[in-house]
Amino acid sequence: MSVGTPRGLASSGQKPIAEILHPLSAAEEPLSVTVNLGGDKEAGLTNGTPVETSSPASTSSLFNRLQLDDDLEADVRDPYAETTETRDLFVTVSDPKKHVSTMETYITYRVSTKTTRVEFDLPEYCVWRRYQDFDWLRTKLEDSQPTHLIPPLPEKFVMKGVVDRFSEEFVETRMKALDKFLKRIADHPVLSFNPHLNAFLTAKDLNKRQGLALLTKVGESVKYVAGGYKLRARPAEFCAMGEYLDTFNQKLGTIDRIAQRILKEQSEYLTELREYGTVYSSWVGLEDELRRPLEGVAGCVTTCCGALEDLGENMSQDFLPVLREYVLYVESMKNVLRKRDQSQAEYEARLEAAILRKQEDRSPMPVEVEKCQDKVECFNADLKADWERWQSNKRQDFKQLLTGMADKNINHYEKCQAAWESLITLLQDKQTEDKTSETN
């Protein structure tokens, strides 16, 4: 950024908060905010609970929080572990139920909330939401917190006829993804305070018409920027982010393809293995002495088939969804990067215009330009913080995923091994049994 020290921040105490709000933030929330000036570290911001009620859209508290987060990231590898003791908002998605009406059939999920936060009237809530509602929430969050990375939802559209929307497997997978989505938001120090989230978690009936007013605002700013001012210089770190995301996305795609191929090969192997087992079974009837070993081998093969089926299920239900979730995450992140670029472009456009005008009539730097600059700086700060958070979550998620898959694989082989070992024991016992009966 060409600008040196950040200017016009609330911490300077020069301007009331309300005026420095991001133009895209929800204007509907009146803000009664007191700001922690001077970045007081004991403000208890680490756990996301501000000392006094504040909207997370307030840039100063945000800045302070980010600064603290940044300091913390250096020490803490796993932000989750750190916040567990201080977490005060717990959400769970469970209990999928089919809702049948004359118009349509859909699944609703129970969303349970437990919290000690003062933003919530009650300590516990239980509401029922359908996918549409989650989608609404996500859109609202994206619109009201454009500088932040919003976690992805599972795929919205499924090909009817190809995937059964009401199959246990599909619903289970989707529910897990929705649960993850909400948990990620609940753990986010900024997003978890979003009033839309609050509404989502508590309202009996979601009034979704709120979105309309917002959309027009979004449209406006997009139009403005689309007027087209090219970005002068994207800061290196954001370029790096973009490149990383592209490569990462590519690798995710490759891994997904390989995983699917493995599933296919495994399924074909399973078919042959089952057939193989039946050949042993069919031989049993012909023999007398060999009956036991043949039956035994057939039994072991069947056990291995079962274990392999389980492994395949694990892969489809646990492994693939996470890959896909991160592909969506990458898309989200790229969107946010684009918006950041837009924001920077807007600033630079206004700045250039202002400079030209300044040269002409020596008027002071207009407020809008400063506002824009702040916006950009906040955006960058939010983004960097979220990026770090995302990276950390990603590391954890993938570590868990890959070690999880490794464990499942080991489990599979252990099951098979146990089956074969018990066969040998059985046959050896029989042998000693026969020997003793012979000598008797």
């Binding site: 990383y244 490569t247 990462f248 690798k251 490759t254 891994i255 390989i258 191929r261 493995i262 090969e265 495994q266 074909e268 192997y269 042959e272 293995l273 057939e275 193989y276 050949v279 042993y280 069919s282 031989w283 012909l286 023999e287 002495e289 060999l290 070993p293 043949l294 035994g296 081998v297 072991c300 590391r395 993938f398 570590k399 890959l402 070690t403 490794a406 694989n409 080991i410 082989y413 252990e414 098979c416 091994q417 074969w420 070992e421 066969l423 040998i424 046959l427």
Partner: protein, 439 residues
Amino acid sequence: SIHPSIYPSIHLSIYLSNDPNVLQRSMVEEGSTLVRRMEICVAEAEKRSGKNAVNMQETFTVYLIETRCFAICISSCLTSAVHEFTSAFSPDSLWRRYSEFELLRNYLLVTYPYIVVPPLPEKRAEFVWHKLSADNMDPDFVERRRIGLENFLLRVASHPVLSNDKILHHFLTEEHGWKEVVYETGFQAKADSRIRALSATFRVRNPDKRFMEMKHYSDQLQSHTSQLLRARARVADRLYGVYKVHGNYGRVFSEWSAIEKEMGDGLQSAGHHMDAYAASIDDILEEEEHYADQLKEYLFYAEALRAVCRKHELTQFELEMASQDLISKKQQHEELATGIVRTFSFKGMTNKLFGQEAPEQREARIKLLEELIAEGEDTVKEKTVECEEHVERAWVDMQRFKEQKDKDLREALINYAVMQISMCKKVEKSISAPELFGA
């Protein structure tokens, strides 16, 4: 006056020589006080080239047969131990090619039709799964064949009947001129008729029920072993695919690790493990081929068993034919002698219609018939003996075969289980390597 329990009639002991590739087993002849022990092994295989029967250059493999004789003196005392003298003889050795083994086996088949003759390893690679080479020159194939040939010799040499055969001893000890000796036995002529008889269809009136059951069993055994071999090959093919696709992970994890900071090492190591996993399938499947070879041996043994049953059918059929022939000749004789026609015959009819022959002719015919009847009775006696002997001897050997089959296949199945266990352990070990993602 040696107590028979000092040594069993068949004794197989296994020695491991200094060379781990050579398994030596020994055989003991039944019932002699001077027990001759011969160690046999097929030690090596070599490529040779030479001119074949039609004077064309060809490449073939020869196998080195090593034999070593021991002399053992058993003391006359009931409880005393066996004194063993290890001869200072260096092993005799000679080279044989597969076709010579085939010749030996064909000779044995013809000479001992009541014995379930051990089979040779397959002539061409069958039941291959895709990667396995079907090429006879492939070193893995040659190695498995070497083992199979050794197995064949050991089985033959430990057989209570076959082990005494002179041609067998010749095969093991005289490299040159052996073929001529075999042909001199004249077995070739019998071999051709045997093959014809095996594939001929004829109806037997009273076959021994046990042999019919045994024949049915041999068909079933063939069917099940070949089904199993086919299914196993398909499974191997698919398993190979699964392992190899995992190998693709190796590269992508490695590429991914390049863009990561903290995760980089873990991903690299994961990639390496994937590569190792993918590579491990080759050894696993190679080992399984030995199991397949054991199954194949009994697939081919089933054929040999069937042949013994068919031989029974043949001898029984010939006996029935001879008996039938004798009966009809006796009937003809009776008709001619008494003039009473018991059964309708065209000859009889034409005789009645067109007049009977002259008395001298009739006499001549009666005399001829009497000679033929005498011959016929001898034939029936011969055939009866042949049939009974075959039944008796074959039944003994089929029982022996059954016991051997049960023992061998049981062992093979157990070894298969052991193989599976060791494979599981190997994979578990490679997956759970501690450096995967760090603890």
